[in-house]
Symmetry: C2
């Protein structure tokens, strides 16, 4: 089947570009002590997770218990939930998962530790945790050093298995590389490695020190003592990470149909914000010089052309570059793998 | 089951509020010649569509062929796709649907008319169309009057069944009612009714004249000659329509769990932009004075408290008012119907 025959709006992955990203990232980590545990939340595609593991990843990172369940259902048994969970239901599900897989979760407060401890007692399993430290994102995480050690002790006292330290530098993913920024990235890595060292000198093994994303992996992946990197967006890429200078190719587009035109300067596509995210900025048009996507409505994208652009005809097909892959993949249930304009494989996206 | 026991993030509908909206809108249309054909895209919930029909709606409006297929699969047989479609695949699916149901679609160009004509020939069915006129939204639609008549003739010549005129005043939904705005709404209705009159005086029956939304139904619903209104958001409501003064109650929230806190002024919820839309503005917190939702990340909502607010504890539950119902419903596969804090019914959302 040709690309143009896929029903729209459709999420398209260019397989050559995606596989190139996979190889380039595998090459980076190939010769290093630090390893890649790529994030699943960006693609939610178990077949891609397996490709990443075959390329050398040591397991998967994810954001939710649901994602961990999907990974375990698909046979992946070394997982980090790089996030806090609370209440009763999520800890119970995690405890159940932990009977058959290694699923680490992050902790940054005593309430959640008690919830996790109660759940693992109920399910007779062993929950593994990383202490999440705040390295500047100011979202979750405790202070590095003594506070992290106190929380690790509290977790141990409640019967949880402490595995190490995590810190996520989400605020630095958005900053293009520079010597100043890279120094701040290293400060974050240093806080993680030093906090892990403090645990170990207090008799608590902390072999896992996790951080980093597609914008910072090259810096934190080289920091001595950091053992794993969580980067995920590198595989599919998007306009955000292109603008930040990440050295990978965009492989993700949304295929759309032109449904209306008015004169040579106005067209409407059938991919609105229910098919492509506009949360962080508007998508852009692929291979259509002189044309600009100017607005997303629920079911429509508005395109303005400069009159010199190739004209658009209702019924014609257009590819749109994704601005933000994470939120866009979340809107779809499958990804169409295309090579040289031919559909090669359809990948289920799991929710 | 209590509200607090529902797994998070969960889309919650307050049944008393929703049913009140249903009754109030039914009362408005009860004594009028103009009828309601409510939009399905806001709730995507067949059980709600049936409630609307039992309350007097004459059928459903929707935005896509997929939504029309869902409605037909659920036994609803009078449908308006208030949108253009193009290419080959969508017209074929519409032609197939039209063998067993009345599914009108909008046209605003000759390409699509030829696509629709080819599809109905292939499927030996009869496609019904409304001519879409531009009444100021400047998205789709031809000019009112002679151009609309020319397009209706072109559709007839190609064997399509012309049923009337549609125009959507989306640009006016955002403007709070005032005598000036209402006059502009009436100008749009006038263009629709006059274009339909021009068709009829040229021998083309045009009994359907459709327009309006939750922000304008009260004005266009009273305009002589307008036969049906497409309002949909009135049922669930959201912060956008509250800010525009629509006389309905918000019934939709997302239930979230607190997963992290840092001191008395910072908390993190497990409902990010994958569970609640931030496309048109940030959601707000229900029943939490002094607290503000300040950012949505992919899987996190950041909450700032003023220190006087009731304190939040990891594991606790919070309800969040939806800012934009349409894009939020699109992120979920079920809606939990709650009355007085008790779960009463779970409604599947169809995609």
């Amino acid at each position: 089947m040709k690309l143009e025959q896929i029903k729209t709006p459709a999420l398209i992955v260019d397989l050559d570009a995606m596989e190139g990203n996979l190889r380039d990232m595998a090459k980076f980590f190939g010769g290093r002590p630090c390893k890649l545990r790529p994030h699943f939340k960006n693609h939610k595609t178990p077949m891609f997770a397996w490709q990443q593991i075959r390329a050398g990843a040591i397991g998967m990172t994810c954001a939710t218990v649901r994602e961990a369940e999907i990974l375990v259902e698909h046979g992946i048994s070394s997982i980090l939930i790089a996030n806090e969970i609370g209440g009763q239901e999520k800890p119970e599900r995690l405890a159940e998962l932990s009977r058959n897989a290694s699923v680490m979760v992050c902790v940054d407060n005593c309430h959640s530790i008690r919830d996790l401890a109660a759940a693992q007692r109920n399910r007779q399993s062993q929950i593994e945790v990383l202490v999440d430290i705040n390295i500047g994102l100011n979202r979750c995480g405790v202070a590095p050093g003594q506070v992290a050690l106190d929380l690790a002790r509290y977790a141990l006292e409640h019967g949880l298995a402490v595995r190490g330290i995590m810190g996520y530098d989400g605020h630095l993913q958005a900053v293009p590389p520079s010597s100043e920024r890279d120094e701040i990235v290293r400060q974050g890595s240093k806080a993680i490695v030093e906090s892990a060292g403090l645990l170990e000198s207090s008799g608590i093994p902390a072999p896992i020190r996790s951080t980093g994303g597609t914008g910072t992996y090259a810096v934190s992946g080289d920091y001595p003592g950091i053992t794993e990197i969580q980067a995920g967006s590198y595989l599919l890429m998007d306009n955000i990470y292109v603008s930040r200078g990440a050295p990978f190719q965009r492989s993700l587009t949304v295929l759309a149909t032109v449904i209306s035109t008015r004169g040579p300067k106005h067209a409407v596509l059938d991919c609105g914000l229910k098919a492509i995210s506009g949360e962080r900025g508007l998508p852009t048009l692929r291979d259509l010089p002189g044309a600009r996507l100017t607005a997303l409505h629920a079911e429509h994208a508005i395109v303005e052309l400069d009159g010199q652009s190739p004209s658009l005809t209702p019924g014609g097909k257009i590819e749109v570059w994704v601005h933000y892959n994470d939120a866009t993949v979340n809107l779809h249930s499958r990804m169409y793998g295309v090579r040289h304009g031919e559909l090669e494989e359809v990948f289920p996206i799991e929710h």
